[in-house]
């Protein structure tokens, strides 16, 4: 009886640990920008970069580039400072803490996108060399893949690196060759250095994460999707088409395993082994304790086994091999880019999002008036099917 009571006490204490995760402590309004700001302010520190990523993407789609810059700069500081020992990361590797205890910086495809967006913002500000730095850092984020054939294989990042290098008067042809060689969808064209209106295009909904396996220890990606296959831009009597160059689902799913996957697999093995050992000890102990007369040696051994079994079960219950499924959930599925030559001054632009048959999807067509800067400064337009 006493054993049962103490076991219950211990069980309750262990179960109590599961409630240390706090829920959202801000009021959701339904406006992702407002909610994002609140989340950045009030969420746990380890989730801050995640909310900054999400809020920055929303801000970009609303044309609030100053705000996007602020969130991305802060997130990239977190991302750039992860080297060396980290208490939270160490905790995430321990048997009794989940992976989501670590500071979120995202999987490589998410880190790449933070640099990609920041690069666009630098380009908008006319800081081409800093934009190029971001595209290069993005490519580096993708370079440590287990499967080397998919390492650093973003077409657009290499293409933009080469384009800026050429615009700055150096030779960007190597980067162009890499981009063209890596292309699996549309092949990027040769650089037009006179093109002064640059369209960064994104569409679709990007990949999401989920956990599978007996204990949710395996990280998997739910593919992104998009009814849009390309976009068509009509302006100044020209029609230009932008095909996708990069697919974020492809990027998320072709890297091979993570080091953390092995750690989570070990945690799962420990959880399973302690659970099984606990079952065996409890059953064995119960049989021994019940088959002999009271106060016998077998009775004592049986009770000892029972206690050991319960301990083992508690260790098993406390082990958390669950994969971290926090995800930058408002990323696009496809990335594209096109550049055209335009005279300085105001220009009416119509952007049509094309379906698989090449027909415009009516409710997505956007018409805007852009002001083209005087050369040599580029005019950068950010186009998303989620633009608001």
């Amino acid at each position: 009886m006493k054993m049962l009571a103490s076991s219950c006490l211990v069980g309750a204490l262990v179960a109590g640990c599961a409630t240390t995760e706090t829920s959202e402590n801000w009021q959701r309004t339904g406006d992702p920008l407002v909610d994002g700001r609140a989340a950045i302010e009030h969420s746990q520190k380890r989730d801050r970069a995640l909310w900054e990523y999400r809020t920055a993407a929303t801000a970009m789609r609303r044309g609030q580039f100053g705000e996007a810059k602020q969130w991305l700069d802060d997130a990239l500081l977190t991302l750039g400072g992860i080297y060396g020992p980290d208490k939270d990361a160490r905790k995430a590797r321990s048997y009794f803490a989940s992976e989501s205890k670590k500071t979120f910086i995202g999987e490589p495809y998410e880190r790449v996108m933070a640099y990609y967006y920041r690069g666009i913002l630098y380009w908008i500000d006319g800081e081409l060399d800093n934009a190029r730095a971001c595209f290069r850092s993005g490519e580096i984020m993708d370079s440590d893949a287990e499967n080397k054939s998919y390492s650093g294989d973003y077409v657009l990042l290499d293409y933009l690196d080469g384009l800026i290098t050429s615009k700055l008067g150096s030779d960007g042809s190597e980067a162009l060759k890499r981009a063209q060689a890596e292309s699996r969808m549309a092949k990027p064209p040769d650089f037009d250095l006179q093109a002064n209106a640059l369209f960064f295009v994104e569409f679709g909904s990007g990949p999401l994460k989920y956990a599978t396996g007996q204990y949710g220890e395996e990280l998997r990606f739910r593919p992104g999707h998009s009814p849009v296959r390309a976009i068509q831009i009509k302006l100044n009597g020209q029609t230009v088409r932008a095909e996708p160059y990069d697919d974020l689902t492809f990027q998320a799913t072709t890297r091979g395993g993570r080091v953390m996957d092995h750690i989570l697999a070990n945690k799962a093995v420990f959880k399973r082994a302690t659970d099984t050992a606990g079952n065996v000890a409890i059953i064995g102990g119960a049989i021994l304790a019940s088959q002999q007369g009271s106060h016998s040696a077998a009775d004592e051994v049986g009770l000892g086994l029972l206690a050991a079994g319960i301990i083992s079960k508690i260790f098993s219950a406390a082990t958390t091999p669950t994969a971290d499924v926090r995800a930058w959930d408002n990323l696009p599925q496809f990335l594209s880019f096109t550049a055209v030559r335009l005279p300085a001054g105001p220009q009416a632009v119509t952007v049509e999002f094309l379906d698989a048959n090449g027909s415009p999807i009516a409710n997505l067509t956007q018409t805007v008036t852009m002001t083209v800067s005087d050369p040599p400064r580029d005019t950068v337009i950010f186009v998303s099917d989620k633009n608001q």
Binding site: T20, E21, K101, I105, E127, M260
Partner: protein, 210 residues
Amino acid sequence: MKKRILAGIFGPSVLLAIIATGCASSGVKNPSGIGVTEMRADEKGFVAGTGVESQDLVAVTDKMARSILDTPQIKNAQNPPVVLLDPVLNDTRFPINKDLFLTRIQVLLNSKCEKKVQFVARDRMAALEHERDLKRTGQVTTSSDSNVVEFKGGDFFLTGKLQSLTTRNSRGISDYILYSFELVDARTSAIVWQDFAEMKKQGVEDASYR
């Protein structure tokens, strides 16, 4: 016998209770906070990445300022040559405020080595021209003939370039950065001085990020 049984049951329970109560501190990092730590700009902080940091900026600009002053064209000049700043080119993978380099070199040369070189405030030309025009139109007083062109032309351009080489694999990341600066004769385009500094940094993130 009873005591032994009780000990067998109670012992593990106490142990488990200790383990379980250990969870009370989970999710709370530095509950009392960390006070602001004041550091020198040339000191390596406890928050470090593999990119350009303040200690690199200080080391590089100190070296460049000293090196410029050793240049014969500067050291032996009869009158302090006028130096113009041409923005540094960032060819690395690190987005940075690259103006910091030239600003610090300029301040070092102006503050520590009086009258060896002279910089002109070309970034303030709009305000300077406005003031000159006010003087020319008699709207404000002037201590000299405002119709005489007195804005100084440059003798040299001071500029530089940051380049990097990155290696990344499962064992970590390594970033090498080459900082090169030069003085270009504005009349002949000859590079009259050039120097460089280089840094290499390596790091590896926790396994949970790999």
